[in-house]
Symmetry: C2
Subunit: 239 residues, 2 copies
């Protein structure tokens, strides 16, 4: 059996009981080195194998081989939730036999960041990755425009990297056409990890910001407000 | 202190360690009776207070009063993730002092349902509640249209109730204008609870379905496919 295990933000307390149970049932646990580094100390009797970034296909092929050839329980860990820009999709795509794969959901950056910021996702929202490695930039920017048109709160994953700074700025330009300048916009860095930091700004302030891979960015909808340093998107209760 | 605690799908194994820790630190735990019923047996020494549906404001006012007047640690539980159509936003809106409120994120239906279905949320997606108690129907349907225009995977929360059957049908009609008839569409009932069930259909089959409150519905984007009973939205890896 292959357990695709969501490890959440990386702190042991962020794991669900089901994720801990699955990790304990595995003989070998495979993952991107950063996520392996965050959890291996809590499972000292397990064999962990670390891979570098962009070796996602190799990681999946390895666990599929072990599960098939050696009939072992193997864990494929995925930071955040394995189903959201994580390893679940790829391993299912590569596998011919889906019934040997069990996916364990977990905390994703959107909800973990939102909990630190207040309640920005309390109404309809869109989740968009700004990584253009696998999705063309024009598709990403079209999605930003459609999210604005529908007045969704927007949550950006992978908002930028050293190589990619312009796309976030372009996304902000589109958002500025639809939203007030003082719409709350927040950057959360390293949720639940060393160096965790929240910055609550406005859309006009954030547009010149250079985001990094370890950040999540949430932009409010037309009703989102900032009160005493918490961002709230009202659900609509009459209070 | 008020802990707003996400209880996930309701099974004890779905709780994070941080949620269990917070529940153990509370003297009184308040929530909607269904969610209280799912977790109280695991915390036999705690005092639980149950409220009915639509008493959300009363529930928040009660915990704010206890926290202020009696200076006690009180838990306000919220099924799924408290920040997604949950109690986090309302209690923050009603509170004057946000620094006494700590939000503990958790599993939300979108990720828990997705894990059962395969990997439908592996690319950009929109989360839309079809409940029209707090959001006008025309706003909801506009969001459905914009999600289609942006080719987002769509995840519907609160897809229907006995009183509200037509809105889902109207949403499906809009989606049918944009997507192929055989686009995968899935209904997940009672995730991680007794009676859990997954139905994988197509958008043309699902449009006549009468959804219920205890269900989550996920509709694929233009690239989502069904393989051996698992729904996958490819992220875009060349494999």
């Amino acid at each position: 059996m292959i357990y695709v295990i969501s490890t959440g933000m990386g702190d042991y307390l962020d794991l669900t009981g089901r994720a801990i149970k699955a990790l304990n049932e595995c003989e070998i646990i495979v993952g991107y080195k950063k996520y392996v580094g965050l959890i291996e100390k809590h499972f000292p009797n397990k064999k962990f194998i670390s891979y570098s970034m962009r070796e996602e296909v190799a990681r999946c092929e390895f666990v599929l081989k072990i599960a098939h050839d050696e009939n072992k329980n193997v864990g494929l860990i995925s930071g955040g939730d394995a189903g959201i820009y994580g390893m679940a999709g790829l391993v299912l795509e590569l596998s011919g036999k889906d019934d040997i794969i069990k996916i364990i959901p977990g905390l994703t950056s959107a909800t973990a960041a939102a909990a630190l910021l207040g309640a920005p996702l309390s109404n309809d929202f869109a989740v968009i990755s700004l990584s253009d490695l696998l999705t063309p930039q024009e598709v990403i920017l079209k999605r930003v425009k459609c999210s604005c048109d529908g007045d969704f709160v927007i949550c950006f994953y992978n908002p930028g990297s050293e190589r990619r700074r312009e796309l976030f700025k372009q996304a902000c330009s589109i958002i500025m056409e639809y939203r007030e300048k003082n719409t709350p916009a927040a950057i959360v860095t390293d949720v639940s990890r060393e160096g965790q930091e929240c910055k609550i700004l406005t859309i006009s302030e954030i547009q010149n910001y250079e985001p990094k891979m370890n950040q999540t960015i949430i932009i409010g909808n037309s009703k989102t407000f900032n009160r005493n340093g918490k961002i709230i998107t009202p659900r609509g209760y009459k209070i």
